[in-house]
Symmetry: C2
Subunit: 219 residues, 2 copies
DNA sequence: ATATAAAGTTAGACATTACTAACAAAATTA
DNA sequence: TAATTTTGTTAGTAATGTCTAACTTTATAT
């Protein structure tokens, strides 16, 4: 039996995994807001349970079992977010904290019912892909808005590392997933972008904001 | 901040409270499946937090604060059960375990949304009353089927201390809340009841089963 | 009214999950 | 390459919530 605490570590490892699937202890510590010695000892304990591979002074990787568990928790989280938005009338800026708790509920039936009621959605309300029952994720072909060049016209398809405050900010700018944007101008000295979308012709977004926005090419 | 564990103790105290609102440590221990010394020490800790009144060797009572907290958890549990049955297509025999977990979610908004979607229900799928936001419970005028006399015609209005197995058994007998029953016969030697309802003329229920069924007079 | 049974408490141990302080290894920079 | 910074580990402590063993108080029954 995996505890809620352990589930949170596995989820973090899944989310933070770089190209090699590795995550440093320091990175994990900062992400979870838990001090490094605690993380180290948890890594030992998860390694004993065969959920991660851990060698002292080396980055941590999830085992196949660990990865499956992590994907299952992320699936529960994202299905919950989608259910709250689509079926219960919550805003996309209100669902993270609730999903953070509901994701730990031990009942496949509950999440399968959500999945079905939502007609098996592929993405959550923030554009993040929802793993299927086998833990498989269908990653869309996305890049950051901050990487787009002047003149490009693309579609907003995801928001990453989003605080509720940032989502409320997007609401206030009338930016939603699906909005079609054109990059009008990039300020050389601070990376500020000027964008046009809908009837808006010169909305200004900071570079930091643009790094949190994912876009797709138009189809 | 009250932990999940503490919430479970408060809920149990609320449910087990007798006419004086008292509960013995032993009773609590058996109900929760937790050994008595653990219960004793938890009672001390809850008393320090002003959630219960505890004097050694005396039964425990909830304080006003404790009672309010307990009612809030029970409200969450029963709203969740009702939501799962009415909005998600679960059977009344499938929802207890899920609600047992969801009841600990810290989000008034979630339960208020359920309440609204269900149009502010007064009872859960097992006929138990749902406390309102202020912790007030509207107890209906119910008695046990085991207390009814031969010839009485009443309406099934609640199921108490019900295991999932017992609920499945009721399903198999086609007994639901609202079913109108007539007590045809009570066996003197073992308390077995013969009941008629719908087209069924002589369904036999044990005394133990009849003690778990609550009924109301017809209106 | 005393013996026995039931209920309740105390003391001490243990697992989990967190922390701080001190130290060690690895990476970076001068 | 040597010094410094960053990253990571070890050791020791603490809170929470559980347990068993031993003991005490209260209730029950003969």
């Amino acid at each position: 039996m995996i505890s809620q605490t352990e589930e949170n570590y596995l989820k973090a490892l899944f989310i933070l995994a770089n190209e090699n699937g590795e995550t440093g202890v320091n990175e994990l510590s900062k992400f979870l807001g838990i001090k490094m010695p605690t993380v180290t000892s948890m890594m030992k304990s998860l390694a004993d349970k065969n959920l991660v591979r851990y060698i002292t002074y080396k980055p941590v990787t999830l085992t196949v079992t660990g990865k499956k568990e992590a994907a299952s928790i992320i699936r529960k989280h994202r299905l919950t977010e989608m259910y709250l938005v689509e079926k219960m009338g919550f805003g996309w800026d209100e669902v993270h904290e609730i999903a953070e708790q509901v994701e730990h509920v031990k009942s496949n039936a509950l999440f399968d019912k959500m999945d079905e009621a939502l007609d098996f959605p592929k993405f959550d309300p923030h554009g993040a892909p929802i793993p299927d029952k086998n833990g498989k994720i269908d990653f869309p072909d996305q890049r950051k808005l901050s990487e787009c060049k002047v003149g490009e016209t693309i579609q907003l398809s995801g928001v990453i590392h989003s605080s509720d405050a940032f989502l409320k900010f997007l609401n206030s700018k009338n930016l939603k997933l699906g909005t079609i944007l054109t990059v009008q101008l990039i300020e050389a000295f601070d990376g500020t972008r000027e964008l046009s979308y809908n009837e808006r012709t010169a909305e200004v977004l900071s570079e930091i904001a643009c790094e949190k926005l994912l876009v797709q090419n138009l189809k």
